[in-house]
Assembly symmetry: C2
């Protein structure tokens, strides 16, 4: 047998997992500050949940990427490929849950798709959603939350916002039939990435007349502050759905502080793919980074749960999803973090004093210091080389001589400086 | 479609997930204090890894419970059913890793087995292991770690220890052929649970003669302190392997403090099933609890990785596994925790002051207070009922009158007491 990971999966050794945990902990801190509570749904779901979603308008490409399996009872199952679907099932199964319900969920999702650089078949998603609130104050809460996440992680990032109603209004204004809206939205979504002339070509291939294309694209030629863009668009778009979209965008900005507004950009062409979005959409980006793709994205999806549950009851939802892997990459970049190979702060080296060192180690740990010790009876130089290669900041050398004096030898691995101290003094120093 | 979880899986709503997170965070704190670093291995593994382990002597029952699947490329895969196997693969794939390597891993594992009360097909395991250390100082470290976990969680628990070498020595002493050792060990393991006469019956069925059974069982009839048990057994067992087992048990106890020894019991009949153990074994139990099954268990498995990797190189290992679900149950019991339905500490109720409340909420959050607000423009009484049903300790009511005075109305939901305070004063009070 060749030892290897299953295709498209990877291990996270300590030097990667330590920073990943740091990122996840910061995300959790912010989510909980914002009143989102944790939820855990299982990784295995009944397969008909996935097909129900496909029926609820989800693109079938995603369905193809569901890992499927059977249990011993012959039940068809699938591995979750996003957090939202299980969230929707949970809401449907818990009709007495208090609304609005704000939850976050962090964990692995799975897609049996092609492998590219940085694209894996198992990856972590971290979602925050609100169900039960129609007002865009909920969308403003999600945007506020995302900005706070950037701050907590020290990321120079911003959020683009738009509104699907505005896009529908613009398509109506251009005189394009509603049946073509989905297809047109896919092209519009690419404006920022491939530019106007390429999008024009795509729209021509979609058999949309030149004058309609011209009218459509004119609406995206707005610039300036969000207020200026809204003003200009208000002058162009005279249908109800478009006006409502603009009103919602304005209202969202009204909830934000001046400080927050600096990091929120109204991008008229943002659509977020096909998806199931019905109102505000948002997507986060780094300002200066090797990572140019989005670092988070989401929006309002008022129809998804009712369609899934086949109910007339309203389940307005809005939420955002952070890619834990990409967020970890930009966090490391922003903080200029080197590899931390271990969580250990101090490494105890016994010179024929293993038993005593075991007890001193316990004392350090009881005082809350991450401590480890040589378990192999290695010599001092080998132990120093080990501590050095692991980037452990302090080493504590203890021989019979030191024990006699009730002292230990604390060595700062960076400076090489050694001090003869009591264990209590070491604890005070390292705390 | 009927909305339901896939068979044998369950959701963890906030009231359960909040306490689960608390438990996991405490486990992590202790692991890191003890110098164990985090590792994450994928949930999907190549199927031949599981079959390689079956080849390495693992009972085939576990193999039957592996969830199997195929990717689009037709590769046979399985979902991890324990953490150890992926850990072994990781070690095999990273020959340059510094030894000893101490790691912990926490996450879901999967077993496609029968469903019983409290037994699920997806459950969390939390493992701490050391690879690269032959000496029982490593086993003492694992026991020490477990005792610290009990302390951190406030559990009145203890650890039973034994040694497989001692069991082999006792079997040899009884004159039972080594080929029967595995089968005899399975029966011996039940001594505590089903009693001597039932075990005697089992052994008779296994065609072991009465005099051998008598000799065998006599060795388990020891009582008193660990020291007394060791003394008595030293007088009986005169073969090398048994003596070595006793020596190791003594050495482990020597590393422990008097305080720790109070929570460590030498149980001569502890075997930990068939498993792959080669030396010390340990299993943790609650003293007084509804939970009578073990809450953690582990031991030394020096042969597993070499057999898996088909190598002569030595990979001595020892480790312990905590069942996160059972640990969460006993933690809730020990702490007498009620359901915490939300992480929110303060809930802001606007009286036609949504925009201002949004900003005050942001101020509270920036100060590190978990804050939420009404997003539905509900009346005061509905909002109070909501906060009450969610067990949110404080509510902050803000109308135009309060805003004029630059104050807010802080209500303690337990006492009903209201105070007119500035936001700053609220922050000081709630921090």
């Amino acid at each position: 047998m060749k030892l290897e990971n299953s295709k498209g999966t990877k291990d996270f050794p300590p030097e990667e997992k330590i920073v990943r945990n740091e990122v996840v902990n910061r995300l959790i801190t912010v989510f909980e500050k914002y009143g989102y509570s944790p939820l855990e749904t299982p990784i295995i779901e009944r397969y008909d949940l996935f097909s129900a979603k496909a029926g609820a308008g989800e693109e079938s490409d995603a369905m193809k990427e569901v890992f499927t399996l059977e249990d011993q009872g012959g039940r068809k199952l699938g591995l979750k490929f996003e957090q939202t679907l299980s969230f929707a099932r949970f809401i449907g199964m818990n009709p007495n849950i208090k609304m609005p319900f704000k939850r976050y969920e962090i964990g692995p999702v799975f897609r049996d798709g092609p492998i590219k650089l940085g694209r894996y078949r198992q990856f972590w998603q971290c979602d925050a959603d609100i169900v039960g609130c129609k007002g865009v104050i909920a969308d403003a809460d999600i945007i506020s939350l995302s900005l706070e996440v950037f701050k907590e992680l020290g990321l120079d990032a911003y959020i683009e916002v738009n509104n699907r109603k505005l896009l529908r209004g613009i398509i109506e204004f251009a005189g394009i039939k509603p049946e073509l809206a989905d297809s047109v939205i896919i092209s519009i979504d690419k404006l920022k990435k491939i530019g106007e002339s390429e999008v024009r070509k795509e729209l021509e291939q979609k058999k949309i007349s030149d004058d309609k294309i011209a009218k459509l694209l004119s609406a995206f030629n707005v610039s300036g502050s969000y207020k200026q863009k809204i003003e200009v668009l208000k002058g162009i778009i005279n249908n109800d759905v478009g006006k409502q979209g603009l009103e919602e965008i304005k209202e969202i900005f009204n909830y934000l502080s001046d400080e927050q507004k600096k990091n929120v950009v109204f991008n008229v062409s943002l659509a977020r793919g096909l998806g199931y979005y019905t109102g505000p959409v948002f997507e986060g980006f780094m300002r200066k980074s090797k990572v140019t793709s989005s670092i988070c994205g989401g929006g309002r999806y008022d129809n998804m749960i009712p369609m899934l549950l086949k109910t007339d009851k309203e389940y307005p939802c809005t939420g955002i999803s952070f890619g834990v892997d990409v967020i970890t990459d930009v966090f490391k970049e922003a903080k200029q973090l080197g590899d931390k190979k271990t969580v250990t702060q101090s490494f105890v080296i016994p010179i024929k004093t293993s038993k005593e060192c075991f007890s001193i180690c316990r004392e350090l740990r009881n005082a809350g210091i991450n401590a480890d010790m040589d378990l192999l009876n290695r010599g001092i130089s080998k132990n120093l080389a080990y501590a050095n290669s692991m980037n452990i900041p302090y080493v504590i050398i203890i021989g019979a001589k030191e024990l006699e004096q009730k002292k230990v030898n604390l060595r700062n691995m960076k400076t090489g400086k050694e001090e003869l101290l009591s264990v209590k003094e070491v604890i005070e120093k390292l705390k």
